[in-house]
Each structure stands twice: as C-alpha cells, then as structure tokens.
C-alpha cells in the first residue's frame, strides 16, 4: 500500500497510509485462496465473512463487498485502519503460512472508504418496536451497541460528555492514523439508522442511571464509558511541569486541536525532547504526535523488549521509520527537575534503569527485573505517561452498580451488570483494550439487551440467513426490509 515518505510525513498530520487504488485492491484480492474452511473469519472478533467480501471484490461487485462487511461490521473504514490484524484475521490467514498474509484490513478499509465516497449505506427500513435504549459513551463500544439496537427497532439515544461524539476515536487516535472526517461519516451512518447523539452530557452527574430507568423512560441502558484515570508510576518528580498523561496530550492535540494553537485556544506543553513511557498503541500515538508537533527527539522508554510491545505491528514499524529512539528494557526511576532547585518546576531529565527479562508473570509475559548499577540519565523536557489507565470513578460514585476490586464494572458473561436492565462493555469492564474488542463487547451487550427486552427468540427454526447483521432468531428481523 502506498505510504507517505517517513521524513515528510513525520511533520504532518495527514494520513500515513494512503489507501489502495482499485488496481492495488484487485491485485491483493486475487491473492486470497477462498479457503472452504476459512480460519480468518474465526480470527475476526465480529466474524466478518471475509472470503465472501474478497470474492466480491475480485468479481468487481464492490457494493456487494460492502454489504457483506456491513452485515456484521458497521464501521469498516475505522476497523480496517485500527484493528491489530496481525493478531486477528491476518494472523491466521492460510496464505500467511508461507507468504505475506492477505491484507484483509487494507481491503476492508478500501471498501469502507469507497462506501463513504459513494454514499452507500445499508440502512434498512426499521419498524419501531417502542423500546427506548440509552447508551452512555459514544466510543466504539457505544457506537456498535447503538447500531445493533437501532437495527432491532429500538429508539436509541447516545450520551457523550465531550462536545462531539466518537470517544477515543476522536480524542485519542490521531488524524494521521484515522482522519476525523472518516469518523464523522461513520457517525452520520448511525444517525441514518435513527440513533440520536446528545453531547455535553455527563451521565452520573447530570442524571443518574436510576433516573434513566425510572424517570426518563429508558427500558435498557448500556454503559460504554471507556477507560480513563491514567496511571502514574508513583516515582519522585511526577508533579513537575512537563509530566502529563498520553490521554491529556492526545486530547489537547486531537480533539481540542492544540496543534493549531493559537488559532485554536487550547495550548500544549512545548518541548524539544519528549520521552514517552510505555509501548502500547496509545504510547505510539503520543510519540508520533509529539514528533509532528515539532519535537527534535522523541524516545520510547519501555521496560520489556520489542517482542513484548503490545502496539500494533504497523504502528511500531511506522514509528521506527519516523525516527523515534527506542530504549527497550528500560524503566524510569525518577523524574528530574530544573537545576535551580526545581523552583520553576520544569522537567529537565529522567533517571532510568536497565531491565532484564525474568520468569513469565501472571500475564504470561516475562517479568522485567531491574539490573543494579545500570542507572543512566535521559535528557528530556516532556515526560508522557502511557502505561495504562484505571477505571473512571464517576459511574461507580453515582450508582449502586457492583464494581470489582479495581473499580471496573462487574458483569456476568452476558455483560449484564448488577442493576436490572443495565449492561456494560468495553474498557470500563475489561480495562484498556482495542477498538475492535470494544465494538465486539458493544455487540454482545446488544444481544443480551434484546433478549432482556424480549425481542429475541433463540429457538426460532427459520432457515433464513442473517439479514443486515441480525440473526433470524431475533424475531424483529422479520420487520426489516431493504429501504
């Protein structure tokens, strides 16, 4: 796939991967073996019929390819860009056993982009069923849940605390990975399904979950508020100016457009040298954003090695190409302040220690062990924490929901919470995970909610196939007709 030159793109917020031209897509689609027993479908968290949509591309039935994807995934232009395909569909592709796996994500993205450009949407005619569903949070989990509930005929309202919908897709993932117009277009598709978005609404404080069920007339509620409350390490120097969380950096830059300061009013901490702690996707985004904001040197501080880095392979590769300096097997032990007794309170550097990999820990990854005597200093003006997040406390503070020991919402295997009619999914249940996992959780919760509302019959004996992504045993399917 064509990509912008690393030197040039490292200073611009334009999308790095330019996407396929039709001839690229056709050539790539031809590589699919159309396995009779396709493993790729199992590798996809929402089970897209991958061989079928690829077959339709080779047959130049592009609209058909889109409808095949849209049957299970409403947001292909987003997922094709941000899914970690190497550990999902492409990781189990048969071609991948001997050659490069088929670029399923890029093909999905190409179809998704084409659909947006052509204005295709598979919005069916939906007969209202009279049920009202409230969704808290407009990120990937909330969007996926909203889409499924709307398709089942429910009157869906999504509440968002920020001034615009999209959640992490808007404030977190930068434009060079996922351009905002793509997100807006996908949200527009949800509006076409009848989903209402209410921004500037902080559920828990403006009204509570009980208010939604008792007074506001919602029959079921889904909570997809995401993770939040960034973790710090608790080392000395963390309250110095220039130390911030990746969430803060990314929100300022992406959502508040601080990169266009002072045309936009939100400022950003300026620094020539930026050190980012952590090596997940958020950390990669923070690094590459810092580079684009004009930093001369951006470093990665990660306590494990490259092999354990949880970032998406493509992002890690892009970051390396763009000139990020990597310190693998390194952990910070202290953040150092200004020479003048720390009076101005600014960061000037960080003391780090080298690590060695030991026995596997509870997560199955080798536990990093500090190597005594290996301390060294890294000069830096900005320290960004991207080492994960804790549960956001607002919903817990303002409802009777059971939380687990770490403050995340407790659910059963059907994603039902301790309050009748209230379901939850995504990062607020599992802790920080991927966009597609959150979407998967949103859809699983939607199934449970349909069951709870009684618009779901698992024992149906109809032989009809899925229609618009709704299995036949969800009886409202009979009310769906192509518009």
């Amino acid at each position: 796939m064509p990509e912008r030159d690393p030197k040039e793109r490292a200073r611009s917020f334009q999308e790095v991967a330019c996407g396929y031209q039709p001839e690229h897509a056709l050539r790539e689609a031809e590589r699919c073996l159309l396995c009779p027993d396709p493993k790729c479908i199992e590798g996809c968290p929402v089970s897209i019929d991958i061989p079928e949509f690829i077959r339709r591309i080779t047959a130049k039935d592009y609209r058909g390819a889109y409808d095949t994807i849209a049957a299970t995934n409403l947001l292909p232009a987003i997922c094709g860009r941000v899914c970690p395909q190497e550990s999902q569909c492409e990781g189990v592709c048969t071609v991948g056993e001997s050659l490069e796996p088929v670029a399923i994500g890029r093909l999905e993205r190409w179809v998704g982009d084409l659909a947006l450009a052509e204005g295709w949407s598979s919005a069916p005619y939906i007969e209202p069923n009279g049920y009202r569903v409230g969704i808290v949070g407009s990120g990937p989990a909330g969007m996926a849940c909203a889409a499924d509930m709307a398709k089942a005929g429910c009157d869906v309202t999504v509440y968002e605390a920020f001034q615009e919908p999209g959640g992490v897709l808007k404030y977190g993932i930068p434009d060079f990975r996922l351009p905002n117009p793509v997100i807006d277009a996908e949200i527009e598709n949800l509006r076409k399904l009848g989903v209402k978005f209410e921004c500037n609404t902080l559920v828990g404080r403006l009204f509570t979950l009980s208010d939604m069920l008792d007074e506001m007339g919602y029959h079921a509620v889904f909570i997809g508020t995401g993770a939040g409350y960034p973790s710090m390490m608790g080392i000395p120097g963390e309250s110095l100016n220039g130390v911030l969380s990746a969430n803060e950096l990314l929100t300022r830059c992406n959502l508040m457009r601080a990169r266009d300061f002072p045309k936009y009013d939100t400022p950003l901490p300026a620094g020539k040298r930026v050190a980012v702690i952590g090596s997940g996707n958020t950390a990669m985004d923070a690094r590459r954003v810092s580079l684009r904001l004009g930093a001369e040197k951006v470093t990665c501080i990660y306590r494990r090695s490259r092999a354990e880095s949880p970032a998406r392979a493509e992002e890690l590769h892009h970051a390396e190409e763009e000139g990020i300096e990597f310190h693998w097997l390194t952990s910070p032990i202290e953040i150092l302040g200004d020479a003048d007794g720390g009076k101005a309170g600014n960061v000037r550097g960080m003391r780090c220690i080298r690590m060695a990999l030991g026995e596997p820990d509870s997560s199955g990854r080798p536990r990093p062990v500090p190597m005594p005597g290996s301390e060294f200093e890294v000069a830096t003006d900005i320290v960004v924490y991207a080492i994960g997040t804790n549960a956001n406390p607002i919903i817990g503070q303002t409802s009777k929901l059971s939380l687990n020991k770490r403050g995340y919402i407790e659910t059963d295997e059907n994603l039902a919470t301790s309050m009748a009619g209230v379901y939850a999914g995504g990062d607020i249940v599992t802790g920080a995970a991927t966009v597609i996992e959150a979407m998967g959780a949103g859809r699983r919760a939607a199934r449970s909610m349909k069951k709870y509302l009684g618009i779901y019959q698992e024992d149906s004996d109809s032989k009809a196939e899925r229609l618009f992504g709704i299995p036949v045993y969800e009886h409202n399917f009979a009310r769906l007709r192509a518009a």
Binding site: A161, F162, Q163, Y171, E198, C199, N200, T201, L202, R205, L206, F207, G226, A227, G228, Y229, P230, M232, G234, E238, S239, N241, L244, S245, N247, E248, T251, R252, M256, R257, F261, P262, K263, Y264, D265, T266, P267, L268, P269, A270, A344, G345, T389, N392, P393, I394, Q397
Partner: protein, 302 residues
C-alpha cells in the same frame, strides 16, 4: 443539550461579570461545590467555572467570571443576553459535603466569593450558625453583600486598603472570628490558592477542619486525562472527579501554584494573538465604514 442560552448578565466591575445560563436539567442536578466546563465557540478551549448559584424553578445556573486571559476576556465581550455558549457540561465534581457542623466560617476571596455562596446558604439551611468572611481588594469590587447577609448570622468584609469593612486579608477576618467564637467546627475557604493556603495555615494551630476548593488546570473534567491532579500529602488525586473540595490541611499548595503556571507563556501568546486580531478587526470595520458611508450618495447618483 445543544442550546446554552444566556438569560442574564451583570457586571460587578470592569473585570468581574455574572452570567446566568438556561439549562433546566443542570439547575435540577446541581449542588454546592460543583462546577461546569464551558466552551465559548468551536475554536475555543474548555474552561472550568464553579457554579455560583442555581435556580431550580427558573431552570438556570449562574457563573461568576473574572476576565483574566484570552477566553474569559473574549467571553466578557461576546456573552450578551440572548447569545449562547457553544458547549457547557456538568455539573462536575463531587458536591461539597455539607456536614452537620453547628458553627461554620465561610470564607470567600475575590472571585471565590461567588462559589462559597451556595455553601453558606446550604449550611444555613442545614441549621448551622454561619459566619461569612469576604475579602476584596477594595470597596469598588465588593459584590453580593446582600445575598450573604441574607444567609449569614455574622458577616465580615475585609479589604486590602480598608475602604470597606476591616483592613487586611481574609485571614484577619478568620482570626477575628476564631477569637470571638471558641466553638467553630469548620472553615470553608474558596479563592486564589495563596489565599486558601493562608486560611489553612490560620486554622491549623486551632485544629479546625478546613475545606478548600481547588482550581487546577483542566481539560475534560471527567477523570480521563489527569491534567488536574493535585498532591494531598503523598497521595495524588484528580480534582475533577475526586474533588474539587479537599482537606486544606493536607493540600500541597506550592505544588498547585507551580502547576498553575504551566502555560503562562502560551496564555500570553493566545492573548496577544487575540488582541492583534481584535485590533485588525476594528481597523477593517472602521475602514469599511469609511468606504460604506458615501456609498448611498453615489448609488443615488446612478
């Protein structure tokens, strides 16, 4: 929640102004001590403002704002009755705990006078004996005296220059109250960090519980960025979801004040950029006015 109409504006001085915003749901949900985050327009930043009052019947909330930088000065210019804010979200933060204290001193310094008012009123309604201590730089900046008198059993005004009430800082007022009453259960202090620090130090030797409302920088106000983290002893808390009220005897005020200066340079830049644009705008307007005025005459000739 798309229209945040301004229904009232009042100017207390050339830098302090009051805005009343229509938002019936928030008026219903708001409690003393909570705040909102406001955006003036699409290019704006999100700024936290304490809810100074709310009227559940009228469906409005009241904000008192001091024009100190770009956004607050732009709001001073743009926010007129009938206009709307681009965004307003809240009520945020944990409501102030209105304890069962029998005798309370409510201290407000400068702009902090506004947010301490709903607390003073709530303590009065809970049956406490309320002593109000308000501090201003001089007489011309005094506001809401009548509102406080209505809910305070005792009322002390302090001015830096002595032009109204007693001369000195609010800490003088606190000392006066403490010397007169030996049974004060709680002090609530809201104002600039240096003032709250002074209040905490004034009550520490007497071991009187002192609650302060912290005002660190904020972005989202929902607990997802940690920009507003504050130090309480050796613990780190996020003011937007764990506060904004904390025990003043535990707060590290020096840390708070250092972190408040984080964007001084950028704040100056934003201000200069805006003032330059305002000047240019004025020049364009006067130039086009000069061009436009003879126009009807020439049009008539044709």
């Amino acid at each position: 929640m798309s229209n945040f109409e301004l229904v009232k504006r009042e100017d207390f001085s050339d830098v302090t102004y009051l805005l009343e915003v229509r938002h019936p749901m928030m008026a219903k949900a708001a409690h003393p001590g909570q705040f909102v985050i406001v955006m003036l327009h699409e290019h704006g930043e999100r700024i936290p403002l304490t809810i100074a009052d709310f009227d559940r019947n009228k469906g409005t909330i009241t904000l008192v704002i001091q024009a100190v930088g770009k956004t607050t000065r732009e709001m001073q210019q743009a926010c007129q009755v009938g206009t709307s804010l681009y965004a307003m979200v809240g009520p945020m933060g944990i409501p102030s705990p209105i304890s069962h204290a029998k005798k309370v001193v409510c201290v407000g310094g400068g702009l902090g006078v506004a947010p301490v008012f709903p607390q003073a009123r709530a303590f009065k309604e809970a049956g406490a004996y309320v002593i109000g201590v308000l501090g201003f730089r001089n007489k011309s900046l005094v506001f809401w005296e009548d509102k406080f008198r209505a809910c305070c059993d005792e009322f002390i005004v302090c001015t830096d220059d002595g032009s109204a009430g007693i001369k000195g800082l609010v800490t003088e007022g606190i000392k006066q109250a403490i010397s007169k009453h030996t049974d004060i259960d709680e002090v609530v202090a809201i104002g600039p960090p240096i003032m709250m620090k002074g209040c905490a130090e004034a009550t520490r030797p007497h071991n009187i519980k002192t609650m302060v409302s912290l005002n660190p920088l904020m972005v989202d106000g929902t607990g997802m960025c940690g920009g507003c983290r504050v130090k309480l002893g050796d613990k780190v808390k996020f003011a937007c979801v764990d506060g904004p009220d904390f025990d003043g005897h535990l707060v590290d005020f020096d840390d708070l004040m250092t972190r408040l200066r984080r964007y001084t340079k950028e704040e100056r830049m934003a201000m200069d950029h805006w003032e330059k644009n305002c000047r240019m705008q004025k020049q364009i307007e006067s130039a086009s006015a000069a061009l436009a005025s003879p126009a009807p005459a020439s049009a008539a000739k044709r």
